[in-house]
């Protein structure tokens, strides 16, 4: 059993959030005012293959968002410290405890450091 647990958690890159997680939220055309980095971040946050934040979080402009996590709004007020926000995306277990359903995007290499930078830039515009 122990052995299996290790195998299954480290095993490879099967499709994440495959069909089971529903439809893609269309990226709204209104990207006006976003920096290049934030634009990339938005694509990652809305797209199903990588960030897929919309699966769980309501985000302005995203269709058919999930509600497993809190709506992402007024994020600069909630996270005046950019590093703290980045850390939540990198490994939410540190802030919310080992039981959080939010995946450890950085720690489990679902997203690269660069991608997390872009997403952080975008989330801070919300």
């Amino acid at each position: 059993m122990k052995k299996f647990t290790t195998v299954i958690t480290t095993a490879g890159a099967a499709a994440l959030f495959a069909a089971g997680m529903g439809f893609s939220g269309a990226v709204a055309a209104q990207d006006d005012g976003l920096s290049d980095s934030a634009k990339k971040g938005k694509e990652l946050a809305f797209g199903r293959s990588k960030g897929n934040c919309l699966a769980c979080h309501q985000i302005k402009g995203g269709n058919l968002a999930g509600n497993i996590g809190p709506a992402l709004i007024a994020m600069k007020a909630r996270y005046p410290d950019r590093e703290e926000l980045k850390q939540v995306i990198h490994d939410p277990r540190e802030k919310f405890g080992a039981q959080t359903i939010m995946p450890p995007f950085g720690a489990n290499k679902l997203l690269s450091d660069e991608e997390i930078e872009h997403i952080t830039d975008y989330i801070l515009t919300l």
């Binding site: 890159a13 099967a14 495959a18 089971g20 058919l64 509600n67 277990r93 359903i101």
Partner: protein, 287 residues
Amino acid sequence: MKRLISSMLAASVLATGGALAADPANPSDPEEFRQLMVDFYQDRYPDVPFEDYNMSVYAIDADARSQWEGMMIFPQTDEYVAKGEKLWNEYRLPNGKPLSSCLGEAKGLRAKYPYFSEKDGEVHSLGLDIINCQKNAGEDPENVWDPKNNYKKLANVLTYLASESNGMTNKVQIDSEGAKEAYNRGKEAWFNRTGRLDNSCADCHQYHGGQYARAEHLHMNLGNTTHFPAFRYSKGSMFTLHKRIYGCIRDTGTIPPDQYSEYARNLEFFMSFNDNGLELNGPNIRK
């Protein structure tokens, strides 16, 4: 209860590899634990009558439910029941005998599963018993109805057999130490976090049951098993329980254990025992 069960499981179950300490929040007695699962559901949805739990998400989603009830009037599953019945009646093992010579009559057969066998110390799934009948009779491996080579035949026959137990009550027995251990291993699997998402069945279907992942309304911790096989209209095909479990584990970002592996059968046993008292309502239709 969320934090109770999960922190307790992290501490005692996973760390000790399954030896459960006496703990009121995590009784090792299956019936006591089942009651906790029922209470959890009832606390979250006090208005849902117990007998509705076998509708999975439709028990808690009125809009989707009326759509589903419409589909169940002339259900898509009928065609698969007919195909499965034909196969059941016409298929012969290499010794010339039908599957019933090995498994017994179709009527009520599904309702006897899953069960724990004292003989081999394992949980038996109906699908795997069919496969083993064929293998033991010397069937050509290419013709065995395993999920890899002949999934459709397996799914169709399971669909027919589900229809022959439709309306009966789910009554999974646990009356030995071995059965109890199998249940508790299935419980571990339910709370086991897998894949790069680091998610467990309980994450999606218990702690966050009733919430939405994108447009998907997540069902709760009970009513996982009674209605299979299910025709998924989003995919246009029949899904056995083991195919569904496989898909959900894969979606956490890992390579799942095989369908009908011991891991998956223990999980089936855990979920099925928890569904005791519900009416068997397979085959059924799901999004």
